[in-house]
């Protein structure tokens, strides 16, 4: 991860963000204060970081009361490389990320070729270093070729630099295979991330099963397709002891399963997407394919359950589930259109909707995008602790704007928040103390 800012003086001079509203995701609290950055690391964060206490030569940024938080960590994003550079590249994805306040991206492994051998991990790390604006971490395949039949080279992939393992958008259907994958992954203390959806039960479904799908004349996917697979996974976790992360959960049924697994002391965590927290199936409206997602957007009751799960801590992580799709694959009848929506750049602003509506406190929202994913991935960033990497964002949570797809930095424009009114703009993004994005 290198960029032009590295050569600026910022990296070598202490940098102070003062007069800020510090959002501390570890303490789930906020205080007035500042952050002092030295040599790319947080030297100090808190109320004592004020103008009077700074080193004489420090560069000072007066935040004027804006929020300062750790940079966001997105555990699920498709970034195009290798093989889908027409949809996204590391350069465009990390630019969108920087503009959205995301400073660490965990890249999905279901690329072409998939990230199932060490050479591809190496390729990604080199590309990220040479063209990335924020940190890009590779996740690697659980099964060879993402085929769900044979264990991938988890040990060698981990040594090459893969920080987590998943088959991306695919579920491993065979319990026998997944059990062995989990056993094997546990030996390496690897994090297993799984997308829990029973494809046999989901079958030809293209949206949430229920009244709305019936009215639209579309085939539905029952909530049980997720719950059955998740329930099976948890039983296998109990058998194998592997660290397991449900990559996306979208229903109250799933939350019950995860809550019970956590109460039983199993090493289980889960994420939901920003889309599922802020949108519901009714937003599909007149067959809007930008809202065709996997898993599908659910009903409003489910969305509320997800928000409650976030507040209670059953849901650990919010992901963007960034999935750029070009116009040709979206401008099709709903059932034939690709699934997926971009989200890196709008994730924070969309999340702030929940804050503005009083559904969730701001520190809890930020925690699910910073310290929780950092802890699950065992990363040092995502916190305001002294010694942590100075991946920081400054944002005004109240500044209004209208989402203009043309101005988004992703190579694809398939945002479900097309023309939406939002509040909350990122003004400054730092990675390791370097400015990687600054709003005009």
């Amino acid at each position: 991860m290198k960029h032009s800012a590295t050569t600026s003086s910022i990296a070598h001079r202490p940098l102070a963000l003062i007069n800020a509203r510090l959002i501390d995701p570890a303490a789930l609290s906020e205080i007035a204060g500042g952050v002092l950055v030295v040599d790319g690391l947080i030297r100090e964060a808190g109320a004592a970081v004020v103008l009077a206490n700074l080193p004489a030569h420090a560069q000072i940024i007066d935040c004027g009361g804006d929020c300062v938080a750790p940079g966001l960590i997105d555990m699920r994003a498709f970034i195009g490389e290798p093989g889908a550079e027409h949809r996204e590249t590391i350069a465009t994805a990390t630019l969108a990320a920087a503009a959205g306040g995301v400073t660490t991206i965990l890249a999905r492994p279901d690329t072409n070729p998939p990230v199932d051998e060490p050479a591809v991990v190496d390729f990604l790390l080199r590309r990220a270093r040479d063209t990335g604006r924020v940190r890009v971490l590779p996740s690697a395949a659980l099964t060879a070729g993402l085929k769900g039949t044979e264990i991938a080279e988890i040990g060698l992939l981990q040594q090459a630099g893969a920080v987590a393992f998943s088959d991306g958008a695919r579920s491993i259907c065979s319990a026998r295979v997944f059990r062995r994958v989990m056993q094997y992954a546990r030996d390496f203390d690897a994090l297993v991330m799984h997308y829990p959806e029973d494809p046999d039960l989901a079958a030809e479904g293209v949206m949430n099963e229920g009244e709305f799908a019936t009215r639209l004349g579309l085939a539905g996917i029952p909530r049980e397709a997720e719950a059955i697979m998740l329930d099976r996974d948890i039983r296998l976790v109990n058998l194998t002891g592997v660290r397991y992360h449900a990559a996306l959960v979208t229903t109250a049924l799933s939350l019950d399963i995860v809550a019970k697994a956590k109460a039983d002391g199993l090493p289980v965590t889960c994420a939901t997407s920003i889309n599922h927290l802020t949108l519901n199936e009714n937003d599909i409206g007149d067959y809007r394919t930008f809202l065709k997602l996997a898993p599908p957007l659910r009903g409003e009751d489910e969305r509320r359950a997800l928000v409650a799960g976030l507040v209670s801590g059953v849901i650990d992580v919010i992901v963007s589930d960034h999935d750029p799709q070009d116009v040709e694959t979206k401008r099709l009848p709903f059932a034939e259109a690709e699934v997926g929506a971009i989200g890196l750049e709008t994730m924070l602003a969309a999340g702030l909707r929940l804050v503005h509506q009083g559904e969730i406190p701001l520190p809890r929202l930020i925690a699910a995008m910073t310290i929780r994913p950092a802890d699950i991935l065992r990363l040092p960033q995502g916190r305001l602790t002294a010694g942590a990497p100075a991946d920081l964002i400054r944002f005004d949570p109240d500044e209004p704007f209208v989402v203009d797809p043309a101005k988004l930095h992703s190579r694809c424009k398939n945002t479900p928040f097309d023309e939406a009114r939002m509040e909350g703009k990122v003004k400054l993004t730092l990675v390791a103390g370097d400015v990687v994005y600054e709003a005009e």
């Binding site: 044979e150 264990i151 991938a152 988890i154 040990g155 056993q183 094997y184």
Partner: protein, 316 residues
């Protein structure tokens, strides 16, 4: 008929497994084998212990070293040896295991040596025949003569078995050699380490009194003997481990990993070896390797087993 002047050294009619043998039984067999080693090294290798007796090698699974080792052992003891391999037998024509056993029994053999792919098959056969039965490997259950020859090899090189630490590494799940060795080495007072990926460890293995490791380095710590197991070709690709390459990287015995064992540690392998999969050629052919000696001990150990069983034969 008067009873023999001394009680038999080995108080069993069959050798079906290490399970059920006492430390005394095992030690007697090892002592008997020591003498057999010398016989095999002489120009005149024949003895008359089994003269006029019939030994049938009944191998439902192909084998080179075990079958030839038993054949040679039988011949050196003067027995008539008949090899029945599955490829030419009526089993291919649909005969059941027990029908085969009854047919052979009618030919009045004195000892049948049996290998079968199913655990328990040899025990089943032993119940139906009148002669002695030796288990030459049943499924993933037991391979007692391999464990005995391993023990003989260890004892001759280390002078003892009690108190040694033996690390058994690799595909424990499918290994009858591992199970027999665990039983035997534990019975004689050795400490056994089991090392392998979780996918190749049978559930509950720690209840057999062994210490289980999933990493070679701690698993080999303090080992006097490093015993590598063969990884079957069909198990290298994805089902249990990702690839031969990754397996060798993490679980193959090379000089670097061997350094974690004691400086005078010795390396064993029941054969046939997969070079570059579970063992590096430098180690397999190196000065600490006992692999070839194991083969020699195999013949001696089987001579000893046949001699011990001969004591129980009618008019023996």
């Amino acid at each position: 008929m008067s009873s023999p002047p001394n009680p038999p050294l080995f108080p069993h009619r069959h050798l079906l497994g290490i399970e059920g043998l006492s430390a005394q039984d095992i030690t007697s067999l090892l002592d008997l084998a020591e003498a057999a080693v010398e016989v095999s090294r002489q120009i005149e290798k024949k003895r008359l212990t089994l003269r006029g007796r019939t030994l049938i090698n009944l191998f439902f699974e192909t084998s080179t070293r075990t079958q030839s080792s038993f054949e040679l052992a039988g011949k050196r003891l003067g027995a008539d040896v008949m090899n029945m391999s599955v490829a030419t037998s009526s089993v291919k024509k649909g005969e059941t295991l027990l029908d085969t056993a009854m047919t052979l029994n009618a030919m009045h053999p004195d000892i049948i040596v049996v290998r079968h792919s199913q655990a328990g098959a040899v025990h089943l056969l032993a119940k139906k025949v009148d002669c002695s039965v030796v288990n030459a490997g049943d499924g993933a259950h037991e391979h007692p003569t391999q464990a005995l020859l391993d023990a003989l090899t260890i004892r001759r090189n280390k002078g003892k078995i009690e108190g040694l630490t033996v690390a058994i590494c690799g595909d424990i799940l499918h290994s009858r050699v591992a199970r027999s060795n665990i039983l035997l080495l534990s019975a004689l007072g050795a400490r056994v380490h089991i090392v392998g990926p979780s996918t190749l460890l049978p559930p509950g293995i720690e209840r057999l009194g062994v210490k289980v490791f999933r990493d070679m380095r701690p698993g080999l710590e303090g080992a006097d003997i490093v015993m590598m197991l063969r990884l079957q070709r069909e198990r290298m690709q994805g089902g249990y481990i990702p690839s031969a390459k990754e397996y060798f990287r993490f679980f193959g015995l090379d000089e670097a990993k061997l350094k974690h064992a004691k400086p005078d540690a010795l390396v064993m392998h029941p054969g046939p070896i997969n070079r570059g999969v579970e063992i590096d050629s430098n180690v397999a052919d190196g000065s600490s390797s006992l692999i070839r000696e194991q083969v020699e001990m195999g013949v001696a150990m089987r001579i000893a087993v046949l001699e011990a069983l001969a004591q129980h034969l009618p008019n023996g």
